[in-house]
Amino acid sequence: MPIVDIRALRKSYGSNEVLKGIDLQVEPGEVIAIIGKSGSGKSTLLRCINGLEEFQSGELTVDGKPLLHKNAAAMRALRQRVGMIFQGFNLFPHLTVGKNIMLAPSLVKAKDTASGEAHARALLERVGLAEKFDAFADQLSGGQQQRVAIARALAMEPAVLLCDEITSALDPELVGEVLRVVETLAQEGMTLLMVTHEMNFARRVSNRVIFMHQGRVHEMGPPAELFGNPQTPELQQFLKSLND
């Protein structure tokens, strides 16, 4: 059974339809890279999966449970299964790194402080920032902040992780440290959906690449096929423009 099941999903802002019927089934453990020009709807699709955006028609289920915007309890349950990492990190600047990670588990999962702290320290260790437990976000580099954001999302033990252009706001020399963490997650079997501009990374790590164009899934397939032998002129054009 797919862990994320999207059928005939349509989303518009006013009269501007940005997703024009998306069908996508994601199996557990799959790593999916979503590529495409800006404005093609890739970020919007990602944000629909954890309910940051409401869609007008179609169906979206996670773990077989439908996404219901009006039902706060259902959304709270869904968001515990779906983690999200943002382009702009969005760490909470008034809390230490440790508290950033521990806050949601203690509130939502009623985790006690001691086990929450042990978990947070283990997660920081995993992203290579064990010594930053008591630091504040503004004392960290962009790459470090993004790794904390990953640890924070993992603290909720999600089944699916959404990555929305998570290296786009980073200086080039900091991109690698974040991608290495994501790659490790992929190897450990985490289900990942990532919107990315890092084509080499997408080619190396993902099982499936989705090329979005004008609000539709335009082409989809294994990375070797999609990058090696693009079928549609739009994808050929897109890949060509990256190499210019």
């Binding site: 940051l52 706060a72 983690g83 999200m84 702009g88 909470f92 008034h94």
Partner: protein
């Protein structure tokens, strides 16, 4: 004519100062509570809430405090409610302060980046938890300086309660001035007392701001 020593003037003004402080506290606590409720109402995005709160704010910001006090004092009387100056002044100042405070706080909340809402939402926090743990602590820091700045306005605003017969600092000052025939001396003392009351508040706002920004 009764003979007033400088000490007599000062002593009577100091006694009246209590009521200025008391009225300021009522206005600030009342205004704070009502302002916070209005802020919650507005942030809740309940149907009609935004319109209601913005009308409330426009109404009480758009009418002079003096006129509001008259309306509270004589208006309640019209409805057969026997108002003391305390009730009328407390109510008028509460309404006035709540309108300004809710606007100050709304501005502070809106200055928190959208990403903070989205990140906390993605972590499955509900609306109340988002406010309590993420948004309000950050908005609080931003709002300290304008809030305390407004507190100074409220303290000075209590002087207007003298027109509905409230025996606070200004009213007592006027009474003593009439009795002593030395208005300049008396009102200088009155001015000094307002300043002594307001200046530490301003200083406190500055130090609080520094402290809150030290480890953000």
């Amino acid at each position: 004519m009764v003979d007033f020593s400088l000490w007599d003037i000062f002593r009577n003004l100091l006694l009246a100062l209590r009521w200025t402080v008391g009225l300021s506290l009522i206005a600030f606590i009342g205004g704070g509570v009502v302002g916070l409720l209005l802020l919650m109402l507005r942030l809740s995005k309940l149907p009609g809430a935004t319109v209601f709160v913005s009308c409330y704010v426009q109404l009480f910001q758009g009418v002079p405090l003096l006129v509001q006090l008259f309306l509270a004092y004589y208006g309640l009387g019209l409805f057969g409610i026997n108002t003391s100056p305390w009730v009328a002044a407390g109510m008028g100042l509460t309404l006035y302060a709540s309108a300004f405070l809710t606007e100050i706080w709304r501005g502070s909340v809106e200055s928190i980046p959208r990403g903070q809402w989205e990140a906390s939402q993605s972590l499955a926090l509900n609306f109340a938890e988002q406010l309590r743990y993420i948004i309000l602590p950050q908005a609080f820091k931003i709002s300290v300086a304008p809030t305390v700045g407004f507190l100074v306005q409220v303290i000075k605003g209590t002087a207007l309660a003298s027109v509905i017969g409230f025996m606070e600092l200004t009213k007592v000052g006027k009474t003593i001035a009439n009795a002593t025939f030395s208005p300049f001396l008396v009102f200088s003392c009155v001015a000094l007392m307002y300043f002594v009351l307001c200046y530490p508040v301003s200083l406190y706002a500055k130090s609080l701001e520094r402290k809150l920004h030290a480890h953000r």
